[in-house]
Subunit: 119 residues, 2 copies
């Protein structure tokens, strides 16, 4: 009863279709992975973590993270274009803050995971 087709494909075809039907739609998955990709850089993670405490200007973030304003600004642009942070000008300063409470939630869950895993 052998076949030239892939055995595994035949045997597990049911599972493949069941899982496919329950998965998030492709556009959603693409955006989810894009979101994680943006959060998956240590500089941006630090920025998000800082902004989840208080709004800050570029210069203050640069001091906090011991990096150049340029490097911070580049990363802030990425976060801004992803609608994760929002900016507000006040005189010479541009203050950034979190644009969405979901970010705080996602961040919290991840930190919880990491901390609990350490034990």
């Amino acid at each position: 009863m052998s076949s030239r087709n892939n055995e595994c494909e035949i045997i597990h075809a049911g599972i493949v279709e069941i899982v496919r039907a329950k998965m998030y739609a492709e556009p959603v998955l693409a955006e989810v992975s894009a979101l994680f990709k943006i959060m998956g850089d240590s500089t941006r993670c630090n920025i998000l973590c800082a902004l989840s405490q208080h709004e800050m200007c570029v210069c203050a973030l640069a001091v906090l993270l011991n990096m150049t304003k340029s490097a911070i600004s580049h990363q802030l642009r990425i976060l801004r274009e992803a609608n994760l942070v929002r900016s507000r000008r006040e005189g010479k300063n541009v203050f950034y803050s979190l644009d969405d409470d979901h970010v705080r939630d996602i961040f919290g869950k991840a930190a919880e995971h990491v901390i609990e895993k350490k034990k």
Copy 2:
């Protein structure tokens, strides 16, 4: 590295110290960003999403995602080393499943964020 007598540093020094005191410890932040980095690839995101529905063997994942077994296996190794998935051999097949419910949570929050943002 901005400058030593930076006006902003002086003006916002208070905020910097307050935020620094409230931020997650550096090792935690490093692991959090590492976690997001791992989840921030569309192939791995698809794998995690699939495994959050049902355990699957490499071959089935390859069929589901229309990729080579080699490519899937490489990504599974990364997920395994991060303790996000676990493997179990059964005859010729190796079945993978989520190693942690946190992943499902984090994933869910992110999807919620994306879906709500679309409106």
